[in-house]
Symmetry: C2
Subunit: 298 residues, 2 copies
């Protein structure tokens, strides 16, 4: 099997996302009565427009470890709920204050701040409900809940977002940028790899490799995001550009310039691809995914 081109992997991811979206939306239907506006806001925030990179990693690492797409679905959906939750809260006026996301008004612009705060809260609790009720093996559920809670929590994504907010308007500092990226982005990508392995019942070596792949892909993804904020167009991105500089954010371009940022991104790409060695040629699409993530225009 030859490694697919960046364009091919982009198409493959989009096709997969279409299939995932249908199954994901079916999981966003409450089994008990929920205020209709809350259902709407949750589905608005979660149900469309994203690249679905995180659930794709869950699914593909699960398959590489011997599991099926069905095995991966609960964890893939749960992780996407957590991602959606983080975007809704991140976009709030008291946080990054963004009016647009994926080319549409952000959740609080569409439903008001109170409902948006609560929709984010609903998404994170729904994530754990999905793990506990849709995964089958109690041992796997315990490991998955632990991983998702830690990946999202105060030592993970939420901790990284805290550093991100605190770092605003401070002098750019490479060590700080590294810490922010590890927390706010790489930790949840690492969880994606590990959740895929857990869903498949993988051994220790496969689990570590999947987690390491996710970690470095996450670092590459976030540095690419930083670069796009400097070089991208608002039309392509579906959100405002140069927001980072305006907000005085800690970013790689601010700390080390564009060229050095690109060089560091390549080292993360190499490490992410290196982590896939254990999976052999079956992981070629993930190797291409790494390049896609770096080369993307949005």
């Amino acid at each position: 099997m030859e490694e697919p081109t960046t364009a091919e992997v982009g198409e493959r991811l989009a096709a997969w996302a279409g299939r995932f979206n249908a199954r994901f939306e079916a999981l966003l239907v409450p089994s008990e009565p929920v205020p209709p506006i809350m259902v709407e806001a949750v589905r608005y925030a979660a149900a469309s427009g994203g690249k679905r990179v995180r659930p794709y990693i869950v699914t593909r690492t699960c398959e590489l470890c011997g599991g099926t797409e069905d095995d991966a679905l609960p964890a893939a959906a749960a992780l996407e709920c957590v991602h959606a939750f983080s975007l809704v809260h991140d976009d709030l006026p008291a946080m990054d204050n963004d009016d647009f996301r994926r080319g549409r008004p952000t959740c609080h612009k569409a439903y008001g701040e109170a409902v948006a705060i609560l929709a984010g809260d609903a998404l994170v609790t729904l994530a754990f409900e999905l793990l506990a009720t849709r995964m089958k093996d109690p041992q796997k559920i315990v490991r998955a809940v632990t991983e998702l809670a830690r990946g999202a929590g105060w030592a993970g994504m939420i901790g990284g977002q805290t550093e991100d907010i605190l770092g605003e308007k401070c002098a750019p500092d490479l060590e700080r940028v590294r810490q922010i990226h590890r927390g706010k982005t790489a930790r949840l990508f690492e969880a994606a790899g590990r959740l895929g392995a857990i869903s498949a019942g993988a051994d220790e070596a496969q689990t570590s490799a999947a987690a390491e792949f996710g970690h470095y892909l996450g670092l590459a993804f976030q540095i690419a995001d930083d670069i796009l904020d400097v070089t991208g167009s608002a039309q392509e991105l579906g959100k405002a550009v140069a927001k980072d500089a305006q907000a005085g954010k800690q970013t790689y371009p601010a700390a080390v310039g564009l060229e050095e940022s690109r060089r560091i991104a390549r080292t993360f790409v190499d490490k992410a691809i290196g982590a896939l060695r254990i999976f052999g040629p079956a992981a070629d699409d993930l190797r291409a995914l790494v390049r896609f993530v770096i080369d993307r225009k949005k």
Copy 2:
């Protein structure tokens, strides 16, 4: 054993809360690095001042079902994290906009809105981490995660908070008040009873009784809260009074007046006490707790 007086149960709860607080705070120590301000904000929001009624219910229903205080601790702590999370987000300017809670500045007044939003988020993820890592039996963990996620989620507490916000400035409506109280308060009290039973490995009859007790205690608790907002003093409550009327909240006093509110509260008290029949005289302190919750001044 004679049923303790209201004063005695108040003292007993306070003494128990002191012991619980020490064990709870010990669980609010991160195992991996966390931004120091996040640790502070989480501990500020969670670690002191509350009555600890919910974890007390978890603990006592666990004991009544044959478990120990140790068996109950992870679920008791997790539930209190969820409660603290809900208060932090509830107090935000876009929600109830409260400056004081338990006689101190609210979390966003002390740490700023961004950190408060994230501290709430950290508390809810920590709740699930505590269940998954501190409870022992995987079967129990799965049931506990399911119960906590549903109790807190869009069909539970978060759904009730949504109805609460949406109901502001609308004409008082008894059916709406009942729905709000069921969601925003009674559902988590019900979860407290059920989590205690799950922690003990209780049978179906005990579990249902514990959940029913929690449900009606929660309804009684919230109606007492509504009444206190009308009749209480800010000094005793440690927060502003008459806030509900000012905000145009859906409350029992607004919908049916004070006297009828008190009468309905007594029916909830009777039902909560009735649900305890299965546990015999061993549950006398919980019977007294129901009266304490109704008679309290804060």
